[in-house]
């Protein structure tokens, strides 16, 4: 459903619209249950804060903003908990490059999956604004103007957040994979994947 259909508040929250919101939340929390929690909370919150929906704000942006905030709030507690649990289990992500090189994945699909998992963790650990900006831009494919509306900041500021996030991800990935650019390019993997 194009965003144009959602600029004004719909009469009812249809399953299709709700699914879009859950899908958005899923990109932040990576868990269907948590995503549904976040959307449910956001919908309840939206009902109580309808007065904040000014005429100048598009409904979809306003709704996305509430969902993203719920997700970031939810993610904050979870990230801290997950880091503590990983540290307790002694499995914190700090494998050396040598260890990674030894554990060469069996095929290209496995490499792509592992990289996606590393990126997912790296995004989760970004500062909230960078995380929101890069997720909405690169995982949701939104325009900068829309993201600016959702985050209530200027488009130029969104660009700065996205740029800083990409830089942080680049540094993180280079640190984790010194052979990052030498391994099989992801694009090749995507072409070979069914």
């Amino acid at each position: 459903m194009p965003d144009a259909d959602l600029e004004n508040e719909p009469r009812e929250l249809t399953p299709a619209v709700r699914d879009r919101l859950v899908r958005l939340a899923y990109r932040f929390v990576w868990n269907r249950s948590d995503a549904e929690d976040a959307v449910h909370n956001a919908v309840a919150l939206a009902q109580t804060r309808r007065r904040q929906l000014r005429e100048t704000t598009r409904w979809w942006s306003w709704m996305c903003r509430i969902v993203v905030r719920q997700c970031v709030a939810l993610g904050r507690g979870q990230s801290r908990r997950e880091i503590r649990e990983r540290q307790r289990a002694g499995t914190d992500r700090s494998a050396t490059t040598d260890e990674r090189r030894d554990a060469v994945p069996a095929d290209h699909a496995a490499i792509a999956l592992e990289r996606a998992a590393v990126l997912r963790r790296a995004i989760d650990e970004l500062p909230p604004k960078q995380r929101a900006a890069v997720t909405l831009r690169h995982l949701e494919g939104m325009e900068y103007e829309r993201i600016a509306e959702i985050m209530e900041i200027a488009p130029a500021t969104v660009r700065v957040h996205v740029r800083d996030a990409r830089e942080a991800l680049r540094v993180r990935l280079v640190r984790e994979y010194s052979d990052w650019t030498l391994a099989v390019p992801v694009r090749t993997v995507k072409e070979q994947s069914p």
């Binding site: 249950s33 929690d37 449910h40 792509a112 991800l169 990935l173 650019t181 992801v186």
Partner: protein
């Protein structure tokens, strides 16, 4: 030339807003600067990785949403043959058939009453009794919220059952919509019940108007555990209880839990619970 400007151009190129003049200048700079070439290469890898993550997360979400087997997704992702996935699905279908037979048999020949599962501890009723995880398949009974397979509950609510219409904290719900959800354990499903005031048709699709107040009160029928601290006011309860605690209601090893029959069982248990407390 300072490398900051070409690196900004690289970001602009990613966003598709680099002018032709700047693109020429960027290429000229890259030809003579090994650091910026490496930066460009690494940034391309990051963007490719983000594209891969977007594609994989979309696939993952679609599979979860369509009820695809988590195991099937994982297996196919790491290259396990489709035949094996098919075998797993057939085995799962057979297992579900057997479980369904057991459940129907139990319903037709009730050896126990739901109240057999009630456990009393001090002044609190533990509802229902904890069951070992391995028995969840066969027993088709509910387990308490402190089961490690579902989110920890940190709240409780007062529930009152009143005939076919269930009264929850003074609010009435027309009926419940069961929504089956997966947990981290692929063999375990949680049935989420929404309290629905009414349903309407919008743009050719059926939408349901959920009663937030009644919805928030729903989890109580799944159990009150003595270890769960009770908040002082309704407002505090509604504000602080996580939704996973508010909505998760039934946990068992069979998708049959989402059937109307199972919901009826839940409602029956609610009545028992209300009488008990």
């Amino acid at each position: 030339m300072n490398c900051n400007v070409p690196r900004q151009w690289i970001h602009d190129r990613i966003d598709g807003r680099l002018s032709e003049d700047d693109a020429r200048r960027l290429n000229a700079h890259l030809a003579g600067c090994a650091d910026c070439r490496a930066f460009d290469h690494q940034m391309s890898a990051v963007i490719d990785g983000l594209d891969a993550l977007q594609a994989s997360s979309t696939r993952e979400y679609d599979e979860i949403a369509s009820g695809e087997s988590f195991h099937a997704h994982t297996a196919s992702a790491v290259g396990v043959s489709r035949n094996r996935v098919l075998l797993v699905r057939i085995a799962a279908a057979l297992a579900l058939t057997v479980i369904g037979g057991l459940v129907i048999h139990r319903m037709l020949n009730p050896a126990t009453t739901p109240s057999d599962h009630l456990v009393h501890a001090g002044d609190h009723s533990v509802f229902p009794a904890p069951v070992p995880a391995q028995d969840a398949h066969e027993a088709n009974v509910m387990v308490p919220f402190d089961d490690p397979r579902i989110s920890t509950i940190d709240d409780r609510h007062v529930v009152e059952a009143d005939g076919p219409t269930v009264v929850l904290n003074g609010r009435t719900a027309e009926r419940f919509i069961p929504v089956m959800r997966k947990t981290s354990d692929p063999t375990v499903h949680v049935v989420w019940l929404h309290a629905v005031e009414n349903t309407t048709e919008v743009n050719g699709e059926t939408g349901m108007k959920v009663s937030p107040a009644a919805d928030r009160a729903l989890p109580a029928f799944a159990g009150v555990h003595p270890q769960i601290p009770q908040k002082n006011t309704d407002e505090a309860r509604n504000r602080t209880a996580p939704l996973s605690a508010r909505g998760a209601s039934v946990i068992c090893g069979s998708p049959l839990c989402s059937s109307v029959q199972s919901v009826d069982q839940v409602l029956q248990r609610m009545e028992l619970f209300a009488q008990d407390s």
